[in-house]
């Protein structure tokens, strides 16, 4: 009886959205600076890089893998773009170079995981170390600055009233959502994450699909790296440290189980917004960045525990049904 009432009173939206609304109301009441339009645009611009990474991380989590290399690949792709621009290459060629750099890193990771049968966290840990080493070693640990002005306007500009990074996030989201919901590709990915052996028996080429998914992850990291460099107006080798972790947090907060087989890109984006709002709130309250790191670390462990509880509960539910 009571349960039914509850079902009627709550509209059918993801539970995670309530957390976000609650957070927005609390922060909006207690911090006056939080309510300004400038601050909200700031959150959006800062969150764009993380959002793009998190979309890649979400697909990888859906097939049951994990990618710890995204942050390092992001900084490598950014450095590469900055280098090409500094050498007076065309804007298009530089952008293609950055995206291609990310794509190649993702492809290598994918090949190692799919054809070498290496557990994904070890392969991506190795790739993280490699990408970090290249971006530090190839440019001698230096910052590449003094990029052309039109490149700087790229991520700080607006289309109408919407910042360009947000437009890029939306384009990536729409394309991926289309692929995941309306194409065979998406169904195959969910099948692969749900049960790899069953998917293979159904005739899905699991190896090529795994490779493609990690390549998409790398490609998105490349795009994020370009936005990052454009925002900072310089290429820095240690800029993406910890981004892969925040992306995983966003995915987990968005309710995607680490076992794979289920998950949604939209909820992941809500997770990204929650992290962005939380970080912004902590910053406005005067907490330094290392406390933000620790608080987010505690947050992911709590979110994981809750997600795990829900997962165990759903398993029990299935057991009761059958």
């Amino acid at each position: 009886m009571n349960k039914n009432l509850l079902n009627i009173s709550l509209p059918n939206i993801p539970e995670i959205l309530y957390v976000l609304i609650f957070l927005l109301i609390i922060l909006g009441i207690f911090i006056p600076e939080f309510r300004t339009i400038g601050n909200i645009l700031n959150i959006a611009q800062q969150g764009a890089v993380l959002a793009i990474i998190a979309l890649g991380s979400c697909i990888i989590t859906i097939i049951g893998g994990i990618d710890l290399s995204l942050g390092a690949v992001l900084s490598l792709a950014g450095m590469f773009t900055a280098l090409l621009l500094k050498e007076n290459f065309n804007l298009i060629i530089s952008l293609m170079g950055g995206i291609g750099c990310g794509l190649i890193c993702g492809l290598i990771t994918g090949i190692i995981i799919a054809y070498g049968n290496v557990p994904s966290f070890v392969a991506t840990l190795g790739m993280m170390s490699m990408a970090r080493g290249i971006s530090l070693g190839l440019f001698d640990g230096a910052t590449i600055s003094g990029l052309p002005k039109y490149f700087r306007n790229f991520a700080n500009g607006y289309i109408g009233v919407i910042p360009i990074p947000i437009v890029i996030v939306l384009i990536c989201y729409v394309i991926l959502e289309y692929l995941m919901k309306r194409e065979k590709f998406g169904i195959y990915i969910y099948a692969l994450g749900g049960n790899q052996n069953a998917a293979r028996c159904c005739g899905i080429n699991s190896k090529i699909l795994t490779m493609i998914v990690y390549t998409i992850g790398g490609l998105l990291a490349g795009i994020a790296g370009i936005i990052m460099v454009s925002r900072l107006n310089c290429g820095h080798p240690t800029v993406g440290i910890g981004y892969e972790f925040e992306a995983i947090v966003a995915v987990v907060v968005g309710g995607t189980p680490l076992e794979g087989g289920w998950g949604s890109l939209g909820r992941t984006l809500i997770g990204v917004i929650i992290i962005g709002v939380l970080k912004n709130g902590l910053m406005l309250l005067g907490y330094p960045s290392y406390w933000q790191m620790a608080i987010i670390g505690v947050g992911v462990v709590l979110a994981l525990i809750m997600a795990n509880m829900a997962f165990i509960k759903s398993k029990e539910y299935i057991n009761l049904q059958t």
């Binding site: 966290f121 840990l125 070693g137 001698d140 640990g141 680490l258 462990v301």
Partner: protein, 333 residues
């Protein structure tokens, strides 16, 4: 004819089918691969620089190897149970920092105890979250990595503590009959781990839990106790390494031990410990630590910037794991 003779000599005079024979040969070659790498590295080093063959450099390499080995021994134990501990570098840093402040104000004994307690605490936290909540170990320890590093930076606030008393300096920089203390420590840790892994029931349990966890449960092994103790040992080893490092460097700062966990994983994996758990041994870790140290030495002697080291570590982890996939497992098909 010759091959048959060799195969008879090598494999106890047993008659082997052609396929089985090649399988065994492949196994042998892949197992001997690390030693092959070491010999190659030694030859390269000897050709590059004449100083390499000096006694001082030899002692230096052995000292670096034993420092890496001590950290890697804890990591090996965790990897043998099928888990991984990414938080070791951060725990090393935090334990070093807290140990340093305690030594400065309360003396050696309390400082060492305090640092070891930090290691124990975070090991216990990792182990209990991983076991009781059944979460993947790499994610939990990645979370603790971030938290512990944040705590270390908050605790130190950008300060550097330096200048310890002579007694504490003995732990990392002292010598015993011209042999540096870290080498002796490394040797003791090796003996200890060897005895634990091969001659106690706990060591056997570590292997079974890594090999087949459901078989371990059904044979009545308390897997919770095993997993928890493994992470606690790893945490304490990390804290102990932190003490050795601050004693050797004579200073402590919040960035101590960043990315050390990758070196430790590389040493364990290159030494033939399977990342899926349950196979490999502590002697392999010694060989792995020696290889990683020698590779770093080659890079230094070639004049390549130390900024390239993460790249080399990453590539050696991936290659070692790929080779490990090729080795046919004992008892497997």
């Amino acid at each position: 004819m010759m091959l048959n003779y060799i195969s008879k000599k090598l494999f106890n005079n047993k008659f082997l089918l052609q396929e089985e024979y090649y399988k065994k040969l492949k196994f042998l070659i892949l197992k001997l691969f690390p030693i092959f790498i070491i010999i190659n590295l030694l030859i390269i080093l000897a050709i590059i620089s004449p100083e390499f063959l000096s006694f001082t450099n030899f002692i230096n390499i052995i000292r670096q190897t034993s420092l890496l080995f001590v950290l890697s021994a804890g990591m090996s134990l965790v990897i043998l149970t099928g888990g991984i501990d990414l938080s070791m570098g951060s725990v090393l840093g935090l334990a070093g920092c807290i140990g340093a402040t305690l030594i400065k104000s309360y003396g050696n004994l309390i400082g060492i105890m305090g640092a070891m307690m930090i290691g124990l605490l975070f090991g216990a936290i990792n182990g209990s979250i991983i076991f009781y909540l059944k979460l993947p170990s790499f994610l939990v320890t990645y979370g603790t990595l971030q938290i512990v590093r944040g705590l270390a930076i908050a605790y130190m606030g950008g300060n550097v503590i330096w200048g310890f008393n002579q007694k504490f300096r003995f732990l990392g920089a002292g010598t015993f009959f011209t042999i540096p203390i870290p080498i002796i420590t490394g040797f003791i840790i090796f003996l200890l781990f060897y005895l634990i892994l091969y001659y106690t029931s706990f060591g056997r349990k570590v292997y079974i839990v890594g090999n087949n966890i459901s078989a371990a449960i059904h044979s009545g092994i308390n897997i919770g106790k095993t997993i928890l103790s493994v992470y606690i040992i790893a945490g304490s080893i990390a804290a102990f390494c932190g003490l050795i490092y601050i004693s050797r460097l004579n200073s402590a700062e919040a960035g101590l031990g960043a990315m050390f966990e990758l070196d430790a994983i590389a040493a364990a994996v290159v030494g033939g410990i399977s990342i899926k758990g349950g196979s490999g041994g502590i002697f392999g870790t010694v060989v792995g630590a020696l290889i990683i140290t020698l590779i770093k030495n080659v890079l230094n002697l070639l004049g390549i910037s130390s900024l390239w080291q993460p790249f080399v570590i990453g590539i050696s982890i991936v290659i070692a794991v790929l080779i490990d996939q090729l080795i046919p497992k004992k008892g497997g098909v």
